[in-house]
Amino acid sequence: MEFFFEVLIGGLLAGVMYSLVAIGFVLIYKASGVFNFAQGAMVLFAALTFVSLVESGVPFWAAFALTLATMILLALAVERWVLRPLVNRSPITLFMATLGLAYIIEGGAQALWGAQVHGLELGIDDVPLEFGGLFVSQFDLFAAATAATLVLVLSLLFNKTRIGLSLRAVADDTLAAQAVGIRLRRIWTVVWAVAGLVALITGLLWGARLGVQFSLSLVVLKALPVLIIGGFSSVGGAIVGGLIVGASEKLAEIYIGPLIGGGIENWFPYVLATLFLLARPAGLFGERTIERV
């Protein structure tokens, strides 16, 4: 039983890492109804920029601030040259644009900082801590605390301020949002800048895990089942979805894996997501849209 709980807790904490990636998607989806294909590239770009700065001797927090500033500049650039020319176009057009953007950012990141693998040390020992007989990874706990802080700040920003209402308005109908005087450009810039911050934090935590390298942009693939289960438009859903994916994949590996030859951790979340698509297409917390015909 103790072993079960250890696996469960390990899985839940791993899930927090998936949630972090998913939150970046949710933010932009909420503000434009678009799945931002470039989120993974932004994670890579942020992590590479940070690591390269640190390696060239910039202190940790200065590098963090500089990278954040870079992500804000990126948000401004994206608004100016990608979103603004495509205002009032269909979501699929914007989606295609983010697809192109992903390649530009990935290419740009590697052209700027090179393509070699960097190690990233955040100064947290990855030794397990013992709680009443259960061993829990210290790094995972740190990641969970970071995610919790991030979610708290985001929910304050988006649920308590008019930015939240404006955000939903913009996602729903940009033309109408403009007509009631919502500053479309500012909303977009804010959202992409916040998504940049999330990308930076995701990049640091995942970078410390996997090393900062091109494959970092592929962690976003793990966000897909999280989003399908939790719902594309809910930060809370991204958290719950991440926890479900993390816990179920680890438990499945341990308890179902041996029966069918093992190695199921990698594809189990997608099976789970497929089942959710059949039963609850909007996810657990997603907005069910009403289409009148």
Binding site: L156, K160, A169, D172, L175, Q178, V180, I290, R292
Partner: protein, 260 residues
């Protein structure tokens, strides 16, 4: 003379608009007085909606200028128009369908907020009091247009006629100087039309809001408006009081299909 004393709120001066060489509106001038209800009428494709879109900045006119409340400009963005006091509804209803009626109306109050987002997030300073005021104003508009029973319903679930009314409520919540209504009664039956025209007249009387509206139903238009502008093929063919316009042979030709 300062702008607030001038009797003309909106005037268009030789406005022309074309899409890739196709003229939608050519050389149109007319003026709307403060406090009046002005109807834009004309057959389909006459350029009515295009003109409305020029007034609130969705389209940019290639020629001519628009003067609103003493400010002349060739082009303004929709957001700037909203800040200057122009609110509107759309022909195909542009509501935020995933939000409740109350939230939709609250977005109309968006520009009336003064507290910063930090104050709002932490609920300090002006934010608390302001929240109450915005909500109260929104509730008032909801009451005025008699949509209280649906205030917490998602807009997407409401029938068409009610959605039209919610859209009007959102526009009204902004306390506009000028209200642009693009076919507010399209697709309604006779009693719904009567109800809607009643609301428009009430808004005009109670708040003194100037209204420019597009409508096809000539009977409704004649009863409702102080001033009628008739467009046909992007040109203005008549402009004046309803009785005058009704007798105009060119208007009769445009509507009854007499040879041009």
């Amino acid at each position: 003379m300062t702008s607030s004393q001038s009797s003309t709120l909106l005037s268009l001066d030789r406005v022309s608009l074309s899409f890739k060489g196709v003229k939608a509106v050519s050389n149109i001038s007319f003026a709307v007085a403060r406090g009046e209800i002005c109807a834009l009428i004309g057959p389909n494709g006459a350029g009515k909606s295009s003109l409305l879109n020029v007034i609130n900045g969705v389209y940019r006119a290639q020629e001519g200028s628009v003067s609103f409340d003493g400010e002349i400009r060739r082009h303004m963005r929709p957001q700037h128009a909203a800040e200057r006091g122009i609110a509107r509804t759309f022909q195909n209803i542009a509501l935020f369908k995933g939000m409740t009626v109350l939230d939709n109306v609250l977005t109309g109050r968006n520009l009336k907020r003064r507290s910063t987002w930090i104050e709002q997030a932490l609920r300090i300073g002006r934010a608390n009091h302001e929240d109450d005021v915005q909500r109260e104003r929104a509730e008032k508009v909801i009451e005025f247009l008699r949509i209280q029973p649906w205030r917490d319903t998602l807009v997407g679930k409401l029938p068409y006629g009610l959605q039209k009314r919610v859209e009007l409520a959102r526009a009204l919540a902004a306390e506009p100087k000028l209200l642009l209504l693009d076919e507010p009664m399209a697709g309604m039956n006779a009693s719904e039309k009567t109800e809607m025209s009643g609301f428009i007249v009430d808004i005009n009387r109670e708040y003194g809001t100037t209204v420019v509206l597009i409508e096809h139903d000539i009977g409704v238009v004649m009863g409702l408006s102080d001033h009628v502008v008739v467009l046909d093929y992007g040109r203005k063919i008549a402009d004046g009081a309803p009785e005058e316009v009704r007798r105009n042979p060119e208007v009769i030709a445009a509507y009854l299909g007499t040879r041009h």
